[in-house]
């Protein structure tokens, strides 16, 4: 079954608040126990203002813009992100990140989606692009 896709189409976005508990959960699920994702002193030792989220957690969450749209994650063919800025996750309030996507190209049954991830006013992913089968 094909999916309606056109250049300029805005995909429904969503907001997710990442808490320390989310980082611990992702550490366990992914096996990435780098202490900068859960220990304040470890983050401070690297000059970070606070604990930061796993870049791959942001990357994986951002792809939901595409998989929520197509319904079927098996349609994703290619996905690239640059980890341009860390998502800083304070212990009490967590960090709110807004995700959205725009279709930038449709060709041969493949849609290219530009994904944005913004924490506060800061774009935390750069050049985030997914290619997804819509045919």
């Amino acid at each position: 079954m094909s999916i309606e896709a056109s250049v300029g189409q805005e995909l429904p976005g969503f907001t997710r608040t990442f808490t320390r508990a989310d980082l611990v959960r992702y550490a366990g699920a992914s096996g990435d126990f780098n202490p900068i994702h859960w220990s304040n002193p470890a983050a401070a030792a690297l000059g970070l203002p606070d604990v930061i989220a796993h870049g791959m957690l942001t990357m994986g969450t951002a792809l939901r813009v595409v998989t929520d749209w197509t319904g079927d994650p098996a349609r994703v063919l290619n996905y690239f992100v640059r980890f341009s800025k860390p998502v800083v996750v304070p212990e009490t309030d967590g960090a709110e990140v807004r995700f959205r996507g725009t279709v930038t190209k449709v060709e041969d049954g493949v849609a290219t989606v530009r994904i944005e991830a913004v924490a506060g006013e800061v774009a935390v992913l750069g050049a985030a692009t997914a290619e997804v089968s819509v045919g």
């Binding site: 997710r16 989310d22 959960r25 992702y26 366990g28 699920a29 992914s30 096996g31 990435d32 780098n34 870049g55 791959m56 957690l57 990357m59 994986g60 969450t61 792809l63 939901r64 998989t67 929520d68 079927d72 994650p73 098996a74 994703v76 063919l77 290619n78 996905y79 690239f80 992100v81 640059r82 980890f83 050049a127």
Partner: protein, 142 residues
Amino acid sequence: MPISEEHVGRSYPATAPYQVSRAKIAEFAAALGDAANPAYAGTDPIAPPTFAVVLAAAAWDAMFDDPDLELSLSRTVHADQRFAWQRPLRAGDEVTATLRIEKVRARGPMAIITIAVDLATAAGEELCTATSTLMHTQEAAE
């Protein structure tokens, strides 16, 4: 001799086969806040696409353990990541990961390293290539 252009092309033996399980898929989907997607549930689930990183990262160890390269994970920043999938990973897949060094560029004390990890089933079916750019800072010379 720390990592340099001369190490481009170096590859490492495939990791031991990892069996993708329904429980691990459910755990990973929940960690992404995406437990509600029915593709990740039921008796024959697929893995969330970026689950491939779990398998790719297992292949990083061989490179970081290579004494020729003088690398340390604590001096490494993950700059960008690409995945290209041939098909989704599924519960029951037995997956191996093979890492090769694609590119090394020096910028002062920093090495910008591109690595590609090929994921394949133990039977040889190609699943995904995970390509990462890492920025590695050498320890200051004494």
